[in-house]
């Protein structure tokens, strides 16, 4: 019962029922888009209408409560409005509490950020509800910090949870933070570890941003945690969530920057470039500003700006390079050698072939002696040059070293990158003696963001798929590029098979199937690329067969980066092996693969995996159709 002006008693439980029924039948949009603004208006200043509204929602039967609450949360234009409309519903009603604190935050992740803001803001606005806010934060952090959640939940969900955490943090007041400081710290440490372990750069960055935010909240004085990561729109959006303009504040348009300065604490460990630093321009004592008059003044100097240090000449012979790189104390010469090495190798193929393995060994172990710009790229280009000049012995050496003891992960991944780049060069037709790459490739694979190269390859695979689909209107025909023999043909097997042979044999310092799943991921992607480049070679069929078996053995791997690689491998096999060979010699493997792909499409938590699997299934369909429709 409730009171209305005039002293009459009335019950609005009937209205609640209607509201509930309409909502549960899926008509929240129509009803609430009318109702909510009206109620918002009415409840703005009229306390009685507020009570009426609360009674209204409280009276909704439990079985329809979820629909109603969700509807209100989504429709309300702000947390303060939601607060007026729902009152302490979440405290009074168990079902509502479940929906608000559990269902929307932890079990669903499709809602927009505004919804999260509404919901969490609502919880923060009343002292009775704030306890729930803290509880919610704790549960969110538990999920965020759980390694199995980080591994198995989709990136979209992880983003959602991260946003929710940041919004909660923005609402917490000092004393509340103080009281749960220890818990926050523990969760942060655990969580950041799981996130940094992930192979996906997006997850790593989420972990970094959230950890930084938590750190900035709990360490208001003293150094805070600071990571280095790419600042894009998503990162900026996340960071902006940490700042709340309280709705009751009447301060007109306080710029966000000011508040940012207050929330982000004192000296960060890594200095970001800020516009405020003015490097003091050094005042050069001008020799010629001597006031003394001298008769030299009638001798006018010429322009001497070209008078610079003389550069050391690089060696002209490959053997000289080897000598300089291994034993020379002259750092100028060493630098000049590193810079000139790639072109020297290209100009002296015969001389390089005499010492190819030795040179490959030196380059693999070459450390940066002085600070040269682009050292990593220079070394990689030289390695690729050696490998393309003398593919078979050098490939043998590199693949054997990949599985040897006492190499760092960096070196092993270097080997993979070099193999891929060299395979690329060898398999493309040379025009005018120089290799031309199709526009999609980068000449140097970026080593830091592992999955970037797989994105490139996905683009290329997509293009190839496009080229294999039939078009009924052909565009302008392109000039045929100059053709030459495929140099990759004779060496593809030497690149591929040694890499695939020992993956399941753990060494003391290197366990592909265990901890080193990042390297496994890179290896799988490398194999996919090598398979892709082996199109039109003689050895492509046994390669395809071996690769499908490899994929089969690893198909349930827990790391999504590895699975993406495995699916790329399947794409490469389907695209490179001639269709007749596929269907004749690999029928069983293909059938098995097909059923696995079907499973992946339905059940894999990772969106990219699902997409790749679907693509593969479509490819298989196309190939079958092509073969049955076009027997010639």
């Amino acid at each position: 019962a409730c009171f209305i002006p005039g002293g009459l008693d009335c019950s609005i439980s009937f209205v609640s029922h209607v509201l509930g029924k309409v909502c549960v039948h899926g008509r929240q949009k129509e009803l609430l888009s009318f109702l909510v603004p009206h109620l918002a208006d009415l409840t703005k200043s009229d306390w009685i209408w507020q009570r009426i509204c609360w009674q209204l929602v409280e009276g909704v039967p439990d079985r329809w409560m979820e629909a109603v609450v969700l509807g209100f949360v989504q429709r309300a234009p702000g947390a303060d409005v939601l607060s007026r409309l729902l009152g302490n519903l979440v405290v009074k009603n168990k079902k509502a509490q479940f929906v608000v604190t559990q269902k929307v935050l932890l079990l669903q992740y499709g809602h927009k950020t505004a919804v999260l803001q509404n919901l969490l803001g609502y919880l923060s606005l009343d002292s009775l509800r704030r306890a729930l806010l803290i509880k919610v934060l704790q549960e969110l952090l538990e999920t965020w910090g759980s390694s199995s959640a980080v591994k198995h939940s989709p990136p979209e969900q992880q983003l959602y949870i991260s946003k929710a955490i940041l919004i909660c943090l923005s609402h917490l007041k000092e004393p509340e933070i103080e009281s749960c400081k220890q818990e926050l710290l523990t969760s942060m440490m655990e969580g950041v570890k799981c996130h940094l372990d992930s192979s996906l750069p997006q997850i790593r960055r989420l972990g970094m941003i959230v950890a930084e935010s938590i750190s900035s909240k709990i360490n208001t004085d003293g150094p805070v945690l600071k990571f280095q990561y790419e600042e894009d729109d998503e990162a900026r959006e996340l960071k902006s969530l940490l700042v709340q303009t309280p709705p009751c504040c009447v301060l007109p348009s306080l710029p966000d920057d000011d508040r940012n300065e207050k929330t982000v604490a004192a000296p960060p460990l890594v200095l970001e470039s800020n516009e405020k630093s003015h490097p003091a321009a050094p005042v050069m004592p001008d020799e010629e500003s001597d006031a003394e008059l001298d008769s030299d003044d009638d001798l006018i100097p010429y322009d001497m700006s070209e008078d610079k240090e003389l550069k050391t000449k690089a060696p002209v012979y490959i053997r000289e390079c080897i000598e300089v790189l291994t034993s020379s104390e002259d750092v100028d010469k060493w630098e000049a050698t590193v810079k000139a090495l790639e072109s020297l190798i290209q100009k002296n193929p015969a001389a390089t072939r005499e010492v190819s393995v030795e040179l490959a060994k030196i380059l693999l172990h070459l450390e940066e002696k002085t600070c040269i710009e682009g050292f990593v790229e220079l070394r990689q280009r030289a390695q690729v040059a050696v490998l393309t000049t003398d593919p078979i012995p050098v490939a043998k050496y590199l693949t054997s070293q990949f599985y040897s003891l006492n190499y760092s992960l960096r070196q092993r991944m270097d080997i993979l990158d070099v193999l891929v780049l060299a395979a690329q060069e060898l398999s493309y037709p040379k025009s005018h003696g120089k290799t031309k790459h199709s526009g999609a490739q980068k000449p140097c694979i970026q080593l830091l963001h592992g999955s970037d190269s797989s994105k490139d390859w996905r683009r290329i695979v997509d293009e190839r798929i496009k080229s294999k689909t039939r078009r009924f209107a052909s565009g302008q025909s392109q000039v045929e590029p100059v053709s030459g023999p495929n140099e990759f043909n004779s060496v593809a097997g030497h690149f591929f098979f040694p890499l695939i042979q020992h993956f399941d044999r753990p060494l003391t310092t290197f366990d592909l199937l265990g901890e080193d799943h990042l390297v496994l991921g890179r290896l799988v992607h490398t194999l996919a690329v090598l398979m892709y480049l082996a199109v039109n070679t003689v050895v492509v069929t046994p390669m395809g067969k071996a690769l499908l078996e490899f994929v089969w053995a690893l198909r349930f791997h827990t790391d999504s980066y590895v699975r993406q690689g495995l699916l790329s491998c399947v794409s490469s096999v389907l695209l490179s092996v001639p269709t007749e060979r596929l269907l004749e010699e690999m029928t069983e493997e293909l059938l098995e693969a097909q059923s696995w792909l079907g499973d992946v499409v339905e059940k894999d938590p990772d969106g990219d995996c699902r997409r790749l699997a679907l693509q593969n299934l479509l490819l298989m369909e196309n190939l079958k159709k092509k073969l049955t429709a076009d027997p010639s």
Binding site: E287, D296, L299, I300, P301, Y302, M304, D307, E309
Partner: protein
């Protein structure tokens, strides 16, 4: 906005070998042709006609061993050359002759260029690095009699003499010798007594070349490192370093002060010729033409100031001739 440095006025090609020494003889009257003498690593001395820019004669007197010093004695017909065959040759070039009239066997296998000083008409002093390691010998020409032998005291450890300069304060006064040594010191010798008047360590490396301005009593030396050292005499008449100048690249082969004492030229291992104002060592120009070490620089003795030239000989077999700061 400073002007870019000038290009060479012309380039003499055809020596066929690295050029180690140059000497101008342009003071003659018409119909005398201005001449440049060059000594090369292949043992030839080329006589360049500066009007036609061609070789008038090629003198072969050192058994195809490198010639590293050429000087004239009074006129262009009397030439002195020093080679790695341990010989100093005196030539008579008058009326088209090319004959060696006399020679001195120095027994020295080093690279130290001799220094000549005219004391009276027909009498010259010549300082050369002698047979023994640290010794300098002074001979009188044309008699070839030894005037003195300058030997540093025991334990001085100066090393080989690297460059020599005979000078006198004015005509008729005591001749003195400045010698730069392997240990980086410059020593002032009194010839009549054969004694060291003053010694100064100018460089941590051997002194490669030096030149001295007797009017201002100021000298300059260069070494294999990056610093040029300018020194003079203090109140006690001792040598003191009064200024240094740091270069961009290390190594100086030759230094020469122009006869009018206005500018100084240096020949660098970095292939560049540098010009400085002599009064304050103000850098004036960097002439970047050669593609290998510049071995020698020399100023011409033209009577007409506007015709004055600077020549530089390099390991790249070329001689560049420059007309620079001729207006002062």
């Amino acid at each position: 906005m400073a002007l870019p440095p000038p290009d060479p006025q012309f380039v003499l090609r055809g020596t066929g070998a690295a050029v180690h020494t140059l000497h101008f003889s342009c003071g003659g009257q018409e119909p005398d042709v201005p001449i440049l003498f060059s000594g090369s690593e292949n043992g030839f001395i080329h006589v360049w006609n500066l009007k036609t820019h061609r070789v008038d004669a090629a003198l072969d007197g050192h058994g195809r061993r490198s010639v590293y010093c050429v000087e004239t004695m009074g006129s262009k017909d009397r030439l002195l050359s020093q080679g790695r065959d341990q010989r100093i040759c005196l030539w008579d070039l008058a009326e088209g002759r090319t004959s060696v009239t006399d020679s001195v066997f120095t027994e020295n296998v080093g690279f130290c260029r001799c220094s000549l000083l005219k004391v009276t008409q027909g009498r010259w002093l010549m300082a050369i690095a002698a047979k023994d390691l640290e010794e300098v010998q002074v001979l009188e020409l044309p008699s070839k009699t030894s005037v003195c032998t300058l030997k540093p005291e025991m334990g001085a450890k100066l090393g080989m003499p690297m460059c020599l300069k005979l000078w006198q304060l004015s005509c008729g006064s005591q001749p003195l010798l400045l010698a730069g040594y392997e240990d980086g010191s410059v020593v002032l010798w009194n010839l009549s007594m054969g004694k060291v008047l003053s010694q100064l360590v100018c460089h941590p490396e051997p002194v490669m070349s030096l030149d001295f301005d007797s009017e201002k009593a100021k000298g300059i030396s260069g070494s294999s490192e990056k610093v040029l050292s300018i020194w003079n005499f203090n109140e006690q008449q001792n040598l003191q370093v009064y200024k240094t100048h740091k270069l961009v690249n290390a190594g100086i082969s030759d230094i020469t002060i122009r006869p009018d004492k206005k500018i100084v030229a240096t020949a660098g291992w970095d292939h560049r010729i540098r010009i400085f104002g002599w009064k304050k060592m103000k850098p004036l120009a960097v002439l970047d033409f050669h593609t290998a070490t510049v071995h020698c620089v020399s100023f011409s003795d033209h009577k007409n100031p506007e015709e004055r030239l600077l020549a530089a000989g390099s390991k790249d077999h070329r001689i560049s001739i420059w007309s620079i700061y001729t207006q002062t």
